[in-house]
Symmetry: C2
Subunit: 204 residues, 2 copies
C-alpha cells in the first residue's frame, strides 16, 4: 500500500537532487535524540526540542519517524549497546572477566547509563521499547549461556547450574553499582568481581 518512492507503474524518474533526505540531518536528529533523552528522560522527551537542538525543522523529524516510540525503536539498535563478543578466552575466569569488562565499557558512558536506567523504568509502560531491546537481552543471554556451556565442557562448572541466576550474578552487581548507585569500578574492583562471581557460579 505504501510506496517507498515514486513507485507507480509509470515511474518517470527517480527522486534526485534536493529531493532526497540528507544523511547529515538524520544523523543530527539521532544524536540530539539521545542527548535529550539522557538529559531529561524519555517521558519528558520533547520531539520539538530534539529538532530544535539538531538545528532542524520539526517536519524534518516527523517525516522520518511518526512518533517518539517509533524513533526510539528505530534508533536504539544503532547505538553501541551490543556487548562486543570476545569469543572463547580459554577459562571460565577469563570469560567472566571479558564479559564484565565489556559490560563496564558500556555502562561507563554517562549518556548510555542514564538512557539504560530510563529505558528499564519505561519498559513497563511502553511495550514498543521492550520489543526494541529484546534482541540485546537475548544476545546477552545467549552469550552467557555459551560461556556456561564452555565451562561445563571444561569441567569447571557442574551441568546442573541455573543459567538464569548466573546471568543475574554476572550483570546484577555491576549494574547496581554503576547504573543504580552512581559508583565507580576500577580494575581492582573488576578483579574482585571476577573472583566473587566465579565462586558464586561454582556454588550455583
Amino acid at each position: 500500500m505504501k510506496r517507498n518512492r515514486s513507485d507507480d507503474n509509470h515511474s518517470p524518474r527517480r527522486p534526485s537532487g534536493a529531493a532526497v533526505m540528507r544523511v547529515q540531518v538524520t544523523d543530527a536528529l539521532s544524536r540530539s535524540f539521545f542527548s535529550e533523552w539522557s538529559r531529561v528522560g524519555y517521558a519528558a522527551l520533547s520531539l520539538e526540542r530534539v529538532a530544535k537542538a539538531a538545528g532542524v525543522g520539526k517536519a524534518a523529524l516527523y517525516r522520518r519517524w511518526p512518533s517518539k516510540a517509533a524513533m526510539a525503536s528505530d534508533l536504539l539498535p544503532r547505538v553501541g549497546l551490543t556487548l562486543t563478543d570476545t569469543g572463547d578466552k580459554g577459562s571460565l575466569e577469563a570469560d567472566i572477566r571479558a564479559v564484565l569488562l565489556a559490560f563496564r565499557r558500556v555502562l561507563r558512558h554517562r549518556m548510555i547509563r542514564r538512557i539504560l536506567a530510563d529505558l528499564h523504568a519505561e519498559i513497563g509502560r511502553e511495550p514498543a521499547l521492550e520489543a526494541a531491546i529484546r534482541p540485546f537481552q537475548q544476545a546477552r543471554r545467549d552469550r552467557v549461556q555459551l560461556i556456561v556451556e564452555r565451562a561445563i565442557a571444561r569441567g569447571e562448572l557442574a551441568p546442573t547450574v541455573d543459567r538464569e541466576t548466573i546471568l543475574d550474578f554476572l550483570v546484577g552487581p555491576l549494574y547496581w553499582r554503576l547504573a543504580v548507585t552512581a559508583g565507580c569500578s576500577d580494575v581492582t574492583h573488576i578483579e574482585r568481581l571476577v573472583r566473587m562471581t566465579k565462586a558464586a557460579m561454582m556454588a550455583g
Copy 2:
C-alpha cells in the same frame, strides 16, 4: 521568620473546626501521588491529575506541598521502603536469607518496583530525590555492614572483605531480576541466591 500557626504575640485562638487540614485528604493525595507515579512515571507525573484522582482541588495539594520534588521528598520516607531489621539470625547464611527475603518483599509490590526503577533513573536529574532516599541507602548499607561484622566475629568471613562489593552482591542480582527484567523469584530461587551469595562473599 515563619510562624507555624497564628503565632503572633497576641494569638487570640488556635485554628479549629474546618480551619484545619483534614487527614483524609492528605492521605488521598499521598495515595494517588504514588499510584500516578507508578502509572506514568515521575517525569510525566502531573500534580493536577494527582489532585483530580484524589477527588480534591489543586489548591489542597499546593497548600500542602509546594512542588512535585518536595512532595516526593516528604512522602518517600513514609512508604514501606524500609527493610525491616531482622536482627541476628545466628549465622551468615541465615542473615543473608533474611536480607534477601526482606528485599524481595519490597520488590514484589508492582507499584514499589516501578517507582524504585523510576526513582533510580531520575536521581541523576533531581538532586532532591537523591537526598530523599539517601537515608534508605545508608540504612541498607549499615545493616549489611552489621551482618558482615557479625560474620567476621563468628569466623565465617575474613576481615579483609570489601563491604561495598558485598552490598552489590546482596542486592544486585535480586534487583536485576525483579526490577530490571521483570522476572520472578520463588523460594527455590532465593535458596540458590543465598548459596551463591554466601560463596561470593567468602571469596571476596
